[in-house]
Assembly symmetry: C2
Homo-oligomer: 661 residues x 2
C-alpha cells in the first residue's frame, strides 16, 4: 500500500464516481470528489473491516449519512474488494436491478450498513449503532469493541433530527462515535450562506461533543484529528473543510457539482487536473492492488477476534449468534401463551397500554435482548418494567433508555440498535407523535428493520389533552406505509397476541396502537392460537345467518360487542369481527379475507379515527362510525358521545338499514 | 398597577392555574406556577397589547410554545380583561365546549396566537411571525413594528425542529424575536439530567443568537434581560432558571408538579406558602384591578398606531386590510382563467412542477402577498419566479425564502407567516419529505391556516433517486389528514385550476403533488369553470353506456387516457375520470359522488401509489393498478414497466374482466 500515493488512491474514488454518474446520466459527483481524501484516510488508516466478511460482527461501522454521495461508498466497496460490488455494478449505477441504487440500501447491497438519503437519518441512526456497541460490550466484553464512523453533510446537520441525535449521543458520552462532516459550504440552492450561519463546531461543543476544524484535503491533518477523536471521552465531530467536486475545473466549489453529471468536457478537465489519465471505470493495477490490500488489512484483527469469540462459553456464544441473527428465544411463544391463559383466568379491565406493560413484564423474563425506552413519557407509555435498569452516560449495563423528547431521534436510534445486531429495540411515545418520528419509521419499514413502536393514547380516548394530542388520521397514515405492521388490540389478550406478532416480525417494524383508557375484556376464552395473526377474526358469531357485521379495532371493540348484544336482543342476527390489523387482514388471500369479512348485507365499522381505508372492508355503502375531523378537549366519555361513537349509534345505524332492507 | 406588588400579581396566575387544573382533575400546574414571574414581568412591563382588541395587527405576539402550560395563558387572558375569557371559562378548563382546551387553540380562543402543545411547534411557528413582521414592515413602514415573544420549555428545545427554527431565525437576524426559556430542569420522566446535557445558552450562541441565563424568579433581573434582548441585533434567548410548581411545598421542583393536579392538601399548602389566602378562582379586587390596568396599558399605543394607519394612502390601507383579512385579490380569478386559455391554445408537455411554475408566474403578478420558498430544492421544485427577490439576513424586501434543509422548520414558519397576517406562504420540498414536515402540516390543518405546500417529485416517476425519495404512501397519508386538501393535477391546465383552489382555501392548507417527469396535456378544451373543484370529473365520456370507468390522478391520467383509446378501439365503452383530489371527491354530496363515479360495472383506478383509500371509489372488487410496496432506483419509464403501471396493464385488466362478465 505504501507504494501508492494517497492522492492517487483518493482519485480512484473521484474517477469512479464521476464515471458512474456520467454513465447513469444522473447522480451526485460532488460529494465523492470532495470527500475522497477524508474517506481515503479513514479507510486506509483507521477503519477496521475485512472485505471478505462484510458481516463480521465487530467491524467498525461506516455510515454514509450523506446518502446522495452513494458512488463514494460503492467505489470504496469495489476498490476494497467486496465480492458483490463488481465493476459492472458501478457501470450500472442507478439502473434497474443493480446493486448500486441512487441512495445506499442496506437490505439490498452487501457492505451498506443502513439506508440513507433522507437527510439526517444516517447520523441519527449511527447513534443507535454506537449505543448498541456499548451495550453489547457491557454484556460480552472484548468481542465487541468497534467504532462507528459517519460521513455527513451540511444537509444532515441542518435537519432537526441532527439536534436530537447529537444531544442523545453527547449526553450518553458515546465516545466511539465519530462524525466526519464534509464541510463544503455548498447546498443545492447555492452557497450555504444563503440559508445557514450556524457555527457547527461550537454547536457540537454545546451538545457535549469533542469537535474541531480540519483541512479536508490534508491527509495527515485528517489522520491526526481522527486520532484525537478516538482518544476523546466524548463523541467527536471533525469538520473537514472540502471543495465540492474537487478537481472539476469549472464546477468545483459550486452547487453545479452537487447533483448532476459533470458532462464530458468537465469530466475530462477534472481527470486532467487530477492527473488521472485513465478511461472510464479504469483503475490502474497498482492503485487497485493497494486498495484491495486495504480490504485485507482487517483480516488479522478479524482472526484475533474469532479466537476471542471462540473462547467464549458455548451458551454465551450461541446466545450472541442467535441475537445477532435476529432469532427469537424459543421460550417466547410459551411465555405469551401462559400470559394469555392467565389473562383469561383473571380478566383485567385495564388500558391496553397497561396490557402492554403486562406483556413486557412477561417478555423481558425470556428475551434478554429487549431494549425498551420512551421519549420522556415513561409513566404514560407504561414501558418501564419492574426490573428495568437505566442506560446512563458512560454506563451501558442498563436496558431502559430515556430517549428524551426526541421522537425521531428515538426511532432512528432504534433503527441503528436493531441494525447493529444483538438487540430488539422497542420505544414509545403518544401515537399522535408518530408524525414526529415518521421519517425514521419509514426507514424502519423500507430497510426492513425489526423495531417495535409502542404508541399509546391512540384516539380521542385520551380526553382532555385535546385535538393537538388526539390521533384521528394516524392509524390510516401508518397503515398506508408498506411493511409497517399496525396493531390496535382490543384488550389484554389481544395485546399479548399483538406483542407476540411484533416480536416475531424480523423483517420490518411494528406499531402497537394502545389506549389510554380502560377497556373491558372481550377475549373470555383461551385459545392457544394467535387469533390476531390474520389481522381480523370473528369475535362473536351471529345466531343464524348474519344480517349485520360489525367491524372494530382496539377500544371500539367493546362498543361493537355491546351493540351486538342489543341487536341480537332485537332479533337482528349480528356478528362482530375484531380487526386488530386492518392492513394485515387486507393482505390475506382473497378467500380468507372474504371468509373473515363475511357477506352480511349490512356492514358497519367502528373506529375512533377517520374512515380512510375502511371502505376496503365495508364498501362505499357501508356505515362508518368514527371521526370526521379533529377531536376536542374534554373527558373521553363525553367525547365519545359528542362524536357519536357509541353502541347506540351502531344499533341505530344497523336497525335503520335493516328496517329499510 | 404600582400599588400591587409583582409577587401578588404573579401569584394570581399561580392560584388560577392550580385551581383550574384541580377542578378539571387534569392538566399541568407546574409550568404556570414556575413561569408566573417571567410572564408577569413580560406582560406588565413589556408586552404591547390592548385587551380590548386582541386582533390589533401591531400587537406584540405572545406565543406559549409550552402549550401544556395553557392555564398560564388563560389566566393572563382573564386577568388582563380579554372579553371572551371569563372566570367561568377558567372553571371549565378542559371541559366540553369551553374556551379553555387542554392546549391553546388559536382557531377557538380569542387571544391565542397559534396552536401549541406538540412540542417545538410554537418556537418554530414564532420564526414565521417574526419574519412576517419584518417583511410587512418593509412594505408598510411604521404601522408594523412589534416583538414576538415566546415562552418555551425544555421539551421545545429538545425537539429537532428547535434546531431548524433557531438556525433560520439566527441566520436571518430576526432581532425582534425573543425566547423566554422556562429552564426548570424537569421533564416527565424526572430530572432533565436523565436525558439531556445540552448547554442551551452556548447552543443558541452557536446559532447566531444573543443568549444568557437569568434567575426566573427575580423580576428586575428578568426585566433587565428582556431590555438587553430588545437592544440586540440578533434574536435572543433568555434561559430563566425557575422552579417548576413554585410554591408547592412537596411537589415543587419535581416532575410530580408537571402534569397532574396538585391535590387538595398540596394546593392548600402552596397557597399558604405563597401567602395567597383566597378561595378557588378568587382574585382580590386590587390584584384584578392592577391586572385589568395592564390590559389597558396598550390602549394609547394602539390609538397612536390607528393615527399612523389612517394616515396611510387609501389604497395602501385597503390593501393592508385585505391582506390581513386573508381576502384574495379580485384579479386572481381572471389571471388563472387567462392562463388556462393560453395553456389550451399553446399546449405544453411539461412536468406539473413546471406547470406550477407557470401558475406562480401568473399569480405573483396579481397577488403581491405571496411569499414563496423551498427547503433547498429551488431548482427542482420550480418555485422561483423570474421576478423573485431573496429574503436576506436583516433585509426583508424580498419575497423568496431559502428555508434551508429544514422541512418542518419551513412548514412551521409558513404557519407563523400566515397566522401573523399579510402574506400567503407557499413552500416546497420533495413530496417524500412531507414526512419531515408532517407535525407542522398537521398544525396547518388543525389550526385552519392557509398555507400552500408545493410537493414535487410525487411518485416513482422521479426515477433514479430510488425508494428513499419515492413517495408511495404519502398521498394516502396526507389525504387522511382532516382539513388538508391534497391536489394531484394531471397537466398544465389542471395545475392552474388546483393552484386557484389552493389560493381560495382560506381556512386551511393545501398540498400540491407535482410530477418530476413531463406529462402529456389531457385538457385540450378550455372551460371557464374550474373542473377540479369537485375533486374529480369525467375527462373522457364513454361512447354509449360505459362498461369500464378508469379513475386516475396526476401523472397516471395520461395512462388512463391511452388505455381508454385502446379499449374504445376494441369496442369496450370506457370513460376516464380524472381525480385531482380523492378526498374532495369523497366530500361531495352522495348524489354528486355517484354521478362522477358512475355505475360502470368495471372500475379501475390507476395511481403510482398504494391502493389505500381508493376502495371508496372502486370497491373491494375493483382493480387497482399501482404500487404494492416501495419503489426502486432506475429511470422512471423502466419503473412504470417494472411495477406494471401502464396503459397495457389497464387494458388487460379491463378486457379480462369484460370478457369474464
Amino acid at each position: 500500500m505504501a507504494q501508492v500515493d494517497h492522492s492517487k488512491m483518493a482519485n480512484a474514488i473521484r474517477a469512479l464516481a464521476m464515471d458512474g454518474v456520467e454513465k447513469a446520466k444522473s447522480g451526485h459527483p460532488g460529494l465523492p470528489m470532495g470527500a475522497a481524501d477524508v474517506a481515503t484516510v479513514l479507510f486506509t488508516q483507521f477503519l477496521k473491516f475485512d472485505a471478505a466478511d462484510p458481516k463480521w460482527p465487530d467491524r467498525d461501522r461506516f455510515i454514509l449519512s450523506a446518502g446522495h454521495g452513494s458512488m463514494l461508498l460503492y467505489a470504496l466497496l469495489y476498490l476494497t474488494g467486496n465480492k458483490e460490488m463488481t465493476l459492472d455494478q458501478l457501470k450500472n449505477f442507478r439502473q434497474l436491478h443493480s446493486k448500486t441504487p441512487g441512495h445506499p440500501e442496506n437490505f439490498h447491497t452487501s457492505g451498506v450498513e443502513t439506508t440513507t438519503g433522507p437527510l439526517g437519518q444516517g447520523i441519527a441512526t449511527s447513534v443507535g449503532f454506537a449505543l448498541a456497541e456499548r451495550m453489547l460490550a457491557a454484556e460480552y466484553g472484548d468481542v465487541v469493541d468497534h467504532y462507528t464512523y459517519v460521513l455527513c453533510s451540511d444537509g444532515d446537520l441542518m435537519e432537526g433530527v441532527s439536534h436530537e441525535a447529537m444531544a442523545l449521543a453527547g449526553h450518553l458520552k458515546l465516545s466511539k462515535l465519530i462524525f466526519l462532516y464534509d464541510d463544503n459550504g455548498i447546498s443545492i440552492d447555492g452557497p450555504l450562506t444563503l440559508a445557514d450561519s450556524v457555527d457547527q463546531v461550537a454547536r457540537f461543543k454545546a451538545h457535549g461533543w469533542n469537535s474541531e476544524h480540519v483541512d479536508g484535503h490534508d491527509q495527515s491533518a485528517i489522520a491526526a484529528s481522527i486520532k484525537r477523536a478516538q482518544a476523546s471521552d466524548r463523541p467527536s465531530m471533525i469538520a473537514c473543510k472540502t471543495t465540492i467536486g474537487f478537481g472539476a475545473p469549472k464546477k468545483a466549489g459550486t452547487s453545479k457539482a452537487h447533483g448532476e453529471p459533470l458532462g464530458a468536457e468537465e469530466l475530462a478537465g477534472a481527470k486532467k487536473a487530477l492527473g488521472w489519465d485513465y478511461g472510464p471505470f479504469e483503475v490502474p493495477d497498482d492503485v487497485l492492488t493497494a486498495w484491495r490490500n486495504v480490504g485485507k488489512q482487517g483480516a488479522s484483527a478479524h482472526a484475533d477476534w474469532t479466537k476471542r469469540f471462540e473462547a467464549l462459553p458455548d451458551d454465551k456464544r450461541a446466545e450472541f449468534t442467535r441475537r445477532n441473527d435476529h432469532v427469537r428465544p424459543a421460550a417466547m411463544e410459551d411465555a405469551i401463551r401462559q400470559l394469555k391463559k392467565k389473562l383469561v383466568d383473571e380478566p383485567q379491565t385495564v388500558a391496553t397500554r397497561k396490557a402492554s406493560e403486562l406483556a413486557l413484564e412477561a417478555l423481558v423474563q425470556v428475551v434478554p435482548e429487549m431494549v425498551i425506552g420512551s421519549a420522556d413519557l415513561t409513566p404514560s407509555n407504561n414501558t418501564r418494567t419492574k426490573s428495568a435498569i437505566e442506560v446512563k452516560p458512560g454506563d451501558f449495563k442498563g436496558r431502559y433508555i430515556h430517549y428524551g423528547i426526541r421522537e425521531m431521534g428515538m426511532a432512528a436510534a432504534m433503527n441503528g440498535i436493531a441494525l447493529h445486531g444483538g438487540f430488539i429495540p422497542a420505544g414509545a411515545t403518544f401515537m399522535c407523535f408518530t408524525d414526529y418520528a415518521r421519517p425514521a419509521m419509514r426507514i424502519s419499514a423500507l430497510a426492513q428493520i425489526p423495531v417495535i413502536y409502542i404508541m399509546t393514547h391512540d384516539s380521542i380516548g385520551l380526553g382532555e389533552d385535546g385535538p393537538t394530542h388526539q390521533p384521528v388520521e394516524h392509524l390510516a397514515a401508518m397503515r398506508a406505509m408498506p411493511n409497517m405492521r399496525v396493531f390496535r388490540p382490543a384488550d389484554t389478550v389481544e395485546t399479548a397476541e399483538c406483542w407476540q406478532l411484533a416480536m416475531e416480525k424480523t423483517n420490518g417494524p411494528t406499531m402497537l396502537a394502545l389506549s389510554r383508557q380502560n377497556l373491558t375484556p372481550v377475549r373470555t376464552t383461551h385459545h392457544d392460537d394467535n387469533l390476531c395473526a390474520a389481522g381480523g377474526y370473528e369475535l362473536i358469531a351471529a345466531k343464524g345467518k348474519a344480517a349485520v357485521s360489525i367491524f372494530a379495532s382496539g377500544s371500539e371493540v367493546e362498543i361493537a360487542v355491546a351493540a351486538q348484544k342489543q341487536l341480537a336482543d332485537k332479533g337482528i342476527a349480528t356478528r362482530v369481527v375484531s380487526v386488530p390489523s386492518l392492513e394485515l387482514l387486507l393482505e390475506q388471500p382473497e378467500e380468507r379475507q372474504k371468509a373473515i369479512i363475511g357477506d352480511a348485507p349490512i356492514k358497519i365499522a367502528v373506529e375512533a379515527a377517520v374512515r380512510f381505508g375502511w371502505d376496503a372492508v365495508i364498501g362505499h355503502d357501508g356505515t362508518f362510525i368514527g371521526m370526521k375531523g379533529f377531536g376536542s378537549s374534554a373527558p373521553a366519555k363525553e367525547l365519545y358521545k359528542l362524536f357519536g361513537i357509541t353502541a347506540e349509534a351502531v344499533v341505530e345505524a344497523a336497525t335503520s338499514k335493516h328496517n329499510a332492507a
